[in-house]
């Protein structure tokens, strides 16, 4: 048993820190730290910088062009980049479709798509949920009918994050009707620029445009874009979920946000004293910090125990990670006090100093609180995670 980082890991941390300090554009970092809106370009610029260094895919195996980073290195990378205010990496290509392609993709798919993800050439999105299929994902209906060397895809996906930016979408589609509904599902890669695709924005309760409805009207998809075997899509989707939930813990970003809480508490005044000197606030910050420490230790335990994709224990990380993200945003909103109320859209805009009411740092906090209600819903709602744990770990 040993909790210390090795000399190599310390050196790796220094290298990441130096690189981020030198290369991360400061305007992007300040938008991240101030909870401002990020543009497509903000994400692409940062991911291009990492791609040139090879670090966008440092966690990939070297046979696919990665650097074979250990789980601890991945954690350090996440921690350092988040601390510096780097945008979170858009996970749909890097961490979601990529592991599926590595495990089940054809040699052509691996060469073509993994290569493009590694160079940050495609923006991917995820086509899972449908209007009638949320938590009960296996009930999905979007159909793909084989016609010669194409599938013809018709139906609708929803809650599709950043579909408005995307070049590619990976979809679960129904290729057969049968008694075992999971067996009729296939995993298909679709070019978002194909004829017959329409993207319609969904504006969320905080005013943000992050998610979309995506309509497919007889979209023709070449059969070489089928991943693995027809009818095995559910297996691949479950494989993917394990990867999604580890990343969802978000320890690095939460550490940054807790530091931001401390800074805010040191700046704001209440009753003639700094907010940080008020015991109820100081106590809530300390309790969140302690919860986050427990989560971080659990993440390290899970990561260092496994070479393979994590199993159901990833659900524990998703649960705690999202609960903590929400607790941080809730406290931040509480600290804003009455200045949680003003809705000044310009305050979210990149680089804007416009605010008008109250300290500028407070303007986005309530909207952020509302926005983060999503984290206990997406990626398999927290109730679904509890079902998974009850069945697979507790045997209930």
């Amino acid at each position: 048993m040993d909790l210390e980082y090795t000399a190599d890991e310390h050196a790796f941390r220094d290298a990441v820190r130096d690189f981020v300090q030198a290369e991360l554009p400061q305007d992007i970092a300040s938008r991240v730290r101030d909870h401002r809106r990020l543009s497509r370009d903000d994400h692409v610029i940062w991911q291009d910088i990492l791609a040139r260094k090879g670090w966008l895919t440092g966690h990939w195996p070297s046979r696919f062009g990665g650097l074979d980073w250990t789980p601890v290195q991945c954690h350090v990378f996440d921690e350092e980049t988040a601390a510096a205010g780097a945008p979170r990496l858009i996970p749909f290509g890097l961490n979601m479709v990529a592991p599926v392609l590595m495990a089940f993709g054809s040699p052509w798919q691996q060469a073509h798509y993994l290569g493009r993800i590694r160079q940050n050439l495609d923006w991917w999105c995820q086509g899972y949920s449908e209007p009638g299929s949320g938590s009960d994902l296996a009930s999905l209906k979007m159909s793909a009918v084989r016609e010669g060397d194409h599938y013809v895809v018709t139906g609708q996906k929803t809650w599709t994050t950043y579909a408005q930016h995307a070049d590619m979408i990976f979809c679960l589609v129904r290729t057969a009707q049968g008694p075992r509904r999971q067996e009729g599902i296939s995993f298909l890669l679709i070019d978002m620029h194909s004829a017959g695709i329409t993207v319609r924005p969904i504006i969320l309760l905080d005013g943000e445009h992050e998610v979309n409805e995506v309509f497919f009207d007889a979209v023709r998809v070449p059969v070489e874009n089928l991943v693995g075997e027809e009818g095995r899509g559910w297996t691949y989707a479950k494989y993917l979920l394990g990867h999604e939930r580890t990343n969802i813990a978000g320890v690095g970003a939460s550490k940054r946000e807790v530091r931001a809480l401390r800074e805010l508490a040191a700046q704001l005044q209440f009753d003639g004293r700094r907010l940080a000197e008020h015991a109820p606030v100081a106590r809530r910050i300390a309790e969140i910090e302690i919860d986050l420490l427990a989560l971080e230790m659990t993440v390290l335990r899970v990561l260092s125990a496994r070479e393979q994709a994590p199993g159901p224990e990833a659900s524990i990380l998703k649960l705690r990670g999202t609960e903590i993200q929400q607790a941080i945003s809730e406290l931040a909103m509480d600290m804003a006090g009455q200045y949680a109320l003003p809705f000044v859209p310009e305050a979210f805009a990149a680089g804007s100093e416009a605010c008008g009411v109250g300290p500028v740092a407070l303007a986005p906090l309530a909207a952020r609180y509302l926005n983060l209600r999503k984290v206990s819903i997406y990626g398999g709602s927290n109730e679904i995670q509890r079902n998974i744990i009850a069945q697979t770990i507790l045997g209930l």
Binding site: M1, L3, E9, E287, I290, D291, L293, R386, I393
Partner: protein, 385 residues
């Protein structure tokens, strides 16, 4: 970064589990709880024979020369078996203090008895007057010639009633909150002027109240140098805290197994109640609390001996706070999921729930540890590295 146990560490845990399976059934445990304190002693020799009494004693002194990782393994197993033996008082806190004794011949003699299971120890540090700090010492030791005269009171002395030797903190200088001026004395519990009131605690252990009235001891009864014991006591208590963290994890392991077994077998409305989602989700939250606690027990064990004591102390207190919060909710759920039977003394699970509910009050309460966590400056270990 390595969370795996060595084969030796795993074997240690297995050996204690086997010992508990043989000796710690609920009937014999009940008999021991109801007995006079002396009955503990027979069992303590068997515990010592397993190498547990001398776990932290250096090999050169006849002990196992183990560290806090082994203490974690031991205490998790102790928690799984709900052992009532004074492991924390004697083998962790007491041993840490005795090993630091600078009087070489006394140290050798006492450690030999400790390892053999012939010496039960108790640290008498907490006092009746509660304070936010765990460091406050009002008890006085006045120097008179080559003697000290101890005057004061100690409270909730863990396993103090059956101890062969008390380790008493007393102030030889300074004011109540000062770290400087605290000294540590070895005290025979039968010494004139020492009045003990021994009692059971709700969680199946024992403690005593200690009144010290004009207790005259030779200057040689002091352990270490005058006025410098605060850091040693804090270190011993941090090791004790780490041990309690690990014990909580073991208690939760058994209690979760008992609870899920009940959910699988108890039938209502024509089906196992574990089929009901609302109960499943409560059980899942227990598992999450257990796993967070397990992580924090690792942290506490490995940081209790940190070279930079402040860093380690902060993380030990973080672990105590985190585990106290988890344990409280966990024990509530365990009782609730058992329903009426969970309320009965007859059910072993209720004994586990009781221990888990009260464990947070030993060796610094949750509130004291939260205060300490908030008070200690956050080290920037990453920046320092």
């Amino acid at each position: 970064m390595d969370f795996t146990l060595t084969e030796e560490q795993s074997l240690l845990g297995d050996a204690i589990d086997r010992f508990n399976a043989r000796t710690q059934d609920s009937v014999s445990r009940r008999r021991r709880l109801e007995s006079e304190a002396g009955r503990l002693r027979t069992m303590w020799h068997e515990v010592a024979a397993l190498g547990l009494a001398g776990l932290l004693v250096p090999e050169a002194d006849g002990g196992s020369g183990a560290g806090m990782a082994e203490v974690m393994v031991m205490m998790q197993a102790a928690g799984r078996g709900l052992m009532v033996e004074p492991l924390v008082a004697t083998a962790v806190v007491g041993a840490t203090l005795l090993v630091a004794d600078t009087d070489v011949s006394r140290r050798t003699r006492l450690l030999a008895r400790l390892v053999a299971g012939d010496l039960l120890l108790a640290l008498a540090h907490a006092e009746p007057q509660a304070s936010a700090s765990m460091q406050q010492v009002l008890t006085e030791a006045r120097c008179q010639g080559d003697e000290y005269v101890l005057q004061g009171a100690k409270s909730l002395v863990l396993h103090g009633g059956e101890a062969d030797l008390l380790l008493v903190s007393a102030r030889t200088a300074g004011s109540p909150q000062d770290l400087e001026g605290v000294s540590l004395f070895l005290l025979d519990p039968a010494h004139p002027g020492v009045v003990k009131r021994d009692y059971a605690t709700l969680d199946g252990h024992r403690a005593c109240e200690l009144a010290l009235d004009e207790v005259r001891v030779p200057a040689s009864a002091m352990l270490g140098r005058a006025g410098t014991a605060a850091a040693l006591i804090e270190h011993a208590l941090d090791r004790g805290s780490a041990a309690l963290c690990a014990e909580a994890v073991g208690v939760m392991e058994t209690l979760l197994a008992q609870t899920t077994e009940y959910l699988r077998t108890r039938e209502q409305f024509g089906q196992a109640i574990g089929r009901f989602q609302v109960l499943q989700h409560k059980a899942v939250d227990m598992l999450v609390q257990l796993e967070q606690s397990r992580s924090m027990a690792y942290l506490a064990s490995l940081r209790a001996d940190a070279a930079h004591r402040e860093d380690g102390a902060r993380e030990v207190s973080a672990a105590r706070v985190s585990i106290a919060r988890s344990a409280r909710a966990f024990a509530q759920s365990a009782i609730q999921l058992h329903g009426g039977i969970g309320m009965t003394d007859e059910l072993p699970a209720s004994h586990y729930a009781r221990r888990l509910s009260l464990l947070e009050f030993w060796l610094g309460t949750r509130e004291q540890h939260l205060e300490r966590y908030m008070h200690l400056k956050q080290p920037d270990r990453v920046a320092a590295s």
